[in-house]
Symmetry: none
DNA sequence: CATGAATGAGTTTTCATTCAT
DNA sequence: TATGAATGAAAACTCATTCAT
């Protein structure tokens, strides 16, 4: 990797943490430059058109950093149930890291960008749609593989899972207590029982 | 009401909308002054020490405006089940207004304030705790009144409800579709069935 | 005294302390109104044209408050030597009060007003001239009354006394130690010995 | 010298004059920017945290500018008497410049900063202490070298000299007449005679 | 007369962005 | 390319003063 690419990556990495913690308006170019150890001027050099472009790249970086392994891991599980159990295990294993990192970047960016930053908002929208598609796809796979009852509404459950996790991350972050996430995960696993074909 | 009080109320009302839509850093005193039809200077003449103080008052105002009727209405219902059904009905009836208003101020302020605005964050924390206490209190009332099974974990369910609603509001706001909220409410009502003593 | 006059006096008294401590630019109309327990608007009522007018009245008030008794007391002494000893005694007795009050208003206003507030500066200039005239007059009286040597330069000594006292007040105020004033007074009294006709 | 250093120096130089003439509160960042020919924003780009930091640097600059040569010159004189005569000569030579510059920055800052600007006040306090130490050191050297009588109280005289000069600068500035300084210097030289071992 | 409210120009400070070197 | 320096607009907040009631 060339130096320019390395610097660009560094700027994204460092800004990503800041954006996740302080939001778009709360993160200054100064802060980013300082954190990345480069000059403000050089950020514009050949790398980024403006602050928004950094924020967009930072969002992608955060997604990959926090959830990259999640989808990979789920892929490795053959059964739908296994995939969804992995989904819960993953969050149970990593929620502390997510909280320490400033919370879920999807939730943070969703709230931060609505009504103000259309492009970032669009990115979040796409992400949430992908999550819905992926999770509901797994559930439908489960139905096809006779793991889950055939009358289960896959999209409905997918979004329940997302709502439970994002809502409980907000609770945990604000109330400084991870139990809310653990309870939400427990409930998701309970739901997996109820849609199990053997239930 | 005196003129000063009227103006003060106006400043809070107008700023409350702006804060809910654009967040703390994204809302300038200029914006507030313009929206309220007063000069920047005069805002400080109305006993507002600084921007933070306005934001704190605005948060209280938003809470009362959007959820004031909720707790009142629940109080009127004698049965625990009735209270919780009212809770769902209320959200079903008002979610469009909430979305149009910029989303749930508790969720928005929770995300906006963490890591940066301690006082507002504390207010949100208190609000979420009150919600937990109130909802779990209703469930425990239901247990006492033999409406709900005695082994039900009241606090656990209370926070599931909160997570589901807040998470789904984020989804609905971002994906511009109220269905996520309706589905979350449906699930809450389903949960109420499962904890019913006659279930 | 009518109420209006009383209020006017109160404004002057309270502002006088503030001006002496914080200077002209450092004292706001807000501060004055608060300290005097009146509204900002009422200050302008029929009392004062603007802030400068208050500062001018406050200067006169401070002069009278801190040094009014000095010139009266000197008047009562028949001999020139007695007058000047009283002058020293007075400062020895009152320097702590002067320091606690924010220092000598003549010195403070002299520094505060030069290059910026012509009218106040003129007032200070007049005051210092009066002091010179009064003190040198006493010395000349002493010469006439054969208390002091006839070749003594009255104006020269008068201004030495003023310089010593004002300079030492600055030292005492800044270094938080009254000894500098006491030493200056001791030196003035020593000088009185040296110009004594019996020396 | 690099451009940045040059600009920084320029900002200090220009602000130093303004602060000495108009005081801290009376000097605005706008004024400084205009005088230095830079934009307000750029001032903060030159490692000045805030206005106070500029004022502190300006004070040091003024001290060096007006009195730097004084202590150097005194160092060159071998005898204590020579040093103190140089001290007087220096002031006699430069008092017009000091008056034109807005007066003595130590006196000005002492009055300007007391009760309000603690850091600047501390700097002034240190300066006055250094002056005391330096002057009394010279007098003690004179005693050691048998130039001055051995019973002379060095600290007492040092502060008399400072009081006389600072007090007379205030007089001269306000009454627009340098004679007060010249008389104070004459008196200091007279005092040097009286403490001379040959007197 | 007195007051509450407002005004608008002012304050210090920060920002994203540009550009000569 | 990279950087130091600059820019100008905008941020939060304060001020002396005015005036309708």
């Amino acid at each position: 990797m060339k130096k320019a690419e390395k610097t660009k990556k560094l700027i994204i990495e460092k800004s990503a943490q800041l954006f996740n913690r302080r939001g778009y308006a709360g993160t200054s170019m100064q802060d980013i430059a300082k954190e990345a150890g480069v000059t403000k001027g050089s950020i514009y050099g050949h790398n980024f058109k403006d602050k928004e472009e950094i924020a967009l790249a930072a969002f992608d970086y955060n997604l990959q950093k926090l959830f990259g392994e999640l989808w990979k891991g789920m892929d490795q599980e053959p059964s739908a149930k296994g995939k969804l159990v992995f989904y819960c295990e993953f969050h149970r294993k990593h929620y502390k890291k997510i909280l320490a990192y400033g919370g879920c970047p999807v939730l943070n960016s969703a709230i931060d960008s609505d009504d103000t930053h259309e492009k970032l908002n669009q990115k979040v929208r796409n992400t949430l749609q992908n999550w819905e598609v992926t999770l509901s796809g797994v559930i439908q796979l489960g139905i096809a593989q006779k793991e889950f009852k055939k009358e289960v509404d896959a999209v409905y459950y997918a979004n329940l899972f997302i709502s439970l996790i994002e809502g409980s991350i907000m609770l945990a972050k604000t109330r400084k207590n991870g139990i809310y996430i653990l309870n939400a995960l427990q409930h998701i696993e309970h739901l997996l029982q109820t849609i199990d074909i053997n239930h």
